[in-house]
Amino acid sequence: MRTMKNLSAVQVITGLTLFFLMGFSSFTFAQDYPTRPITLYCAFPAGATMDVLTRALAIRAEKILGVPVVVDNKVGALGTVCAAILASQKPDGYTIGVIATGAMTYVPLLYKVSYKPLDAFTPLLQFSQFIGGLSILNESPIKTVYDLIEYAKTHPGLTFGSTGTNGFHHLAVELFSQCKGLNLKHIPYKGGAESIPAILGKHIDLHAGSAHIPYVRQGVLRLLMNYSATKRDPSFPDVPTLIELGCPDYPGDGMMVAGPKGLPEPIVKKLKSAFKAVADGQEFQNLLVQLNLPYTYKDGEELNKEAPAVTEYYKDLNKKLGIGK
């Protein structure tokens, strides 16, 4: 009996020691980082464009970092569920996430969030951004956005479907409609899976979203205008942007890799260089082209610096549109 008791005491001590050693190792030897699998949260559902990109980043980052990078989808509430979870994690470099830059800027202006938007994350880099397009059925007599403006002036109440109320697709088209003095009626859908059938089935007149590309390429839909875009899409050089039409634009979300606030500098460096290498790589670039997404690299520092100004800009726009908390 005695020996057994002693044994268990020894075991307990050894166990505890090992436990603490393991617990501390990640702090004390940041230069050895990473030594265990990294969890990469994704704010978008499995199968979504962002999820596809996140997984493409993960597989290649794995090879550079030398440890598994495990994608974990935390979906919901316009990405704030994922952002909130990410913000609450230990900044040890083993939990990072792919979230929309809007989680720091405009989403908290519209919805209550549990984190401090400007002081919750360590942005690492932005690798792309959402661009929206306004499209119409190809068979329609309306061929350009100018045709549309003319037609809509005499035909108030044309409907446009978007991927959700207060999303940038909705708000950008609202700005367009205000700026040109049109009366377009907004019909919200839940993502492209619902809004595309609605336009194909002629339930709505116009489609505002980013799921239109394959349909435009196959000649079913016609792209009239891009918004949330700084310049024309090289794949559709004839399609004007909202800014070109002399209207204010609602900036779309960027897609970034970020960690919780307070990631140690050496870890930030390692992660930045790894993900930058992946994003610059030919395979990832090809994927972006295929998904018709722009490569808009921005460093984490830059994202952090511009966030307060961007937030202010959104506040003004929201006031103009009469929305927000």
Partner: protein, 497 residues
């Protein structure tokens, strides 16, 4: 003819040894995850997606589709054996499947589910192959008002599931609709009934609710009984459906397949809708409606063939338009894009190898599923021989792990336990959980289509009467209600409880 030419193209692709292997892997994994509570096909597909990067696109899609329709087979197993639906498509299978198992007829129940799935799945593919493009155009005719009225009709049909009081079933449907409003309102983004719990923002999880209402409640109920009631007392009976079972269920299979295929084309809740609509139809046309809910084999055959036909039908909008009808197919679309293939109207012309190869692989996969599942029946039935004191704690454990595993969230576990208690009370007071859970599933679509319709019509309700399909659904729904309200007529249809 085109049909055979395409079929031969497809089969030659599907029967390449490499593709055969991955087709088998897919349906095998699908069966497994269908049986396990919690880990659904969506989660599995997204985990396996990166694995397919190294494969040719066709092989990858063949395997991933195999998982998607394979899970439909597996989902019914737990419904029948332990009253826990593997996914929403097999909730209705519980009603009679579990009763059959308790009467020692688990074998025929599992057998008819497997054959029904096979027949419906295969017929579904044939129809898909011949009619894919015109059918899609029909599905596109469904706008917001049509969806709304269809959902209303669905909710009224739900009450026909009731074994006893239709009024109670309607009340359950109302409560389910209410539970479905929890979360961010999908039109304006306002948080409703969330109590600031982030896990509630996207609504209550369907899997923990189903596991609670059915599985956990069943365990609670059985706690009251003394141990002597072993489910089948060793008398397992036939492993396969008898000739009489076949005769009883042949029309149920046919009707289930048709209903499943038609409703499965509609993006959204079509697959789920088809299971209870087909069940209700069987109950209405049956000469002995009173045996439903007490182990009627038609009650298993109809929903099982419906959900598999719906799974085939769902490929129509996906492959021809690039529109996913259920989240699982959204991941398949993601996989297509990752492999450099643009889903959409031109897919059939640009990649005939892939299109027909995947379709042909579904024939092959369905045969594999049947071969795989029939021998398993003997094994599953033996599970029921495990005495309650061992089986029940195990079920509880699997449910707990399953509920936690979906989102790694303890809130889901709490939801499951809460629903367990709720389900127990419902059973005690003779309220049925099936209308509740079905209404819960339909609720978000009902609401968004109502609000979207009113957005179109500037708030005028006339829109539901000016659209012909919508009007038809509403007329049918009111006829059903009148039938239900007039005593005598309902008895004729549903019988005395």
């Amino acid at each position: 003819m085109d049909f055979f030419g395409n079929l031969i193209t497809g089969l030659s692709v599907a029967c390449e040894p490499y593709n055969l292997l991955f087709c088998f892997l897919g349906v095998f994994i699908g069966t497994l995850i269908g049986v396990l509570p919690g880990l659904g096909p969506s989660a599995t597909l997204s985990i396996l997606l990166p694995v397919t990067f190294g494969m040719p696109a066709t092989t990858a899609i063949i395997m991933l589709s195999g998982i998607a329709y394979g899970a439909q087979y597996g989902g019914s197993t737990t419904s029948i054996l332990v009253n826990i639906p593997g996914e929403t498509g097999s909730v209705i299978t519980c009603l009679d499947g579990y009763q059959m198992a308790r009467q020692g007829r688990a074998g025929p129940a599992l057998g008819i589910a497997a054959f029904g799935s096979f027949i419906a799945g295969t017929v579904g593919i044939i129809v898909l192959q011949i009619l894919a493009p015109p059918l899609v155009n029909v599905a596109l005719k469904f706008g917001a008002p049509e969806y709304f009225s269809l959902m209303i009709l669905g909710l009224i049909i739900l009450t026909f599931l009731a074994e006893k009081s239709m009024l109670k079933a309607l009340m359950m449907a109302g409560m389910g609709t209410f539970f479905g409003t929890v979360g961010l309102d999908s039109i304006s983004g306002v948080a409703r009934f969330t109590f600031d719990i982030p896990d509630f923002f996207d609504g209550l999880g369907i899997v923990p609710m189903v596991m609670g209402l059915f599985g956990i409640a069943e365990i609670f109920l059985n706690l009251e009984k003394t141990i002597k009631t072993e489910i089948s007392d060793g008398k397992i009976g036939n492993l396969l459906p008898t000739l009489k079972d076949w005769v009883d269920s042949k029309w149920a299979l046919v009707r289930g397949t048709v209903i499943g295929f038609v409703l499965g084309l509609l993006p959204g809740a079509g697959a789920v809708l088809s299971t209870f609509v087909s069940y209700a139809v069987e109950k209405m046309v049956s000469k002995n409606p009173q045996k439903f809910g007490h182990g009627a084999i038609e009650g298993v055959a109809a929903p099982e063939s419906a959900n598999n036909a719906a799974a085939s039908a769902g490929f129509v909008p996906m492959l021809t338009l690039g529109i996913p009808v259920i989240p699982t197919y959204a991941i398949l679309l993601g996989a297509l894009m990752l492999h450099g293939i643009t889903p959409g109207p031109m897919l059939m012309k640009q990649h005939p190898d892939l299109f027909w190869g995947v379709i042909a692989s579904m024939y092959v996969g369905n045969v594999m599923l049947l071969v795989l599942n029939l021998p398993l029946i003997g094994l599953w039935v033996r599970v029921l021989r495990v005495p309650y004191p061992i089986l029940f704690p195990l079920i509880l454990l699997f449910c707990l792990i399953g509920a936690y595993a979906i989102n790694k969230s303890t809130v889901d576990v709490a939801i499951m336990l809460f629903c367990g208690v709720l389900g127990y009370l419902m059973r005690k007071f003779e309220y049925e959980p099936a209308p509740f859970i079905m209404a819960f599933v339909l609720s978000p679509m009902l609401e968004t289509s109502l609000r979207r319709s009113l957005a179109f019509s500037n708030g005028k309700f006339m829109i539901f009467f000016t659209h012909p399909i919508s009007l038809g659904c509403l007329i049918l729904a009111s006829l059903l209600l009148v039938t239900a309200a007039l005593p005598g007529i309902r008895e004729k249809f549903v019988g005395e409880a």
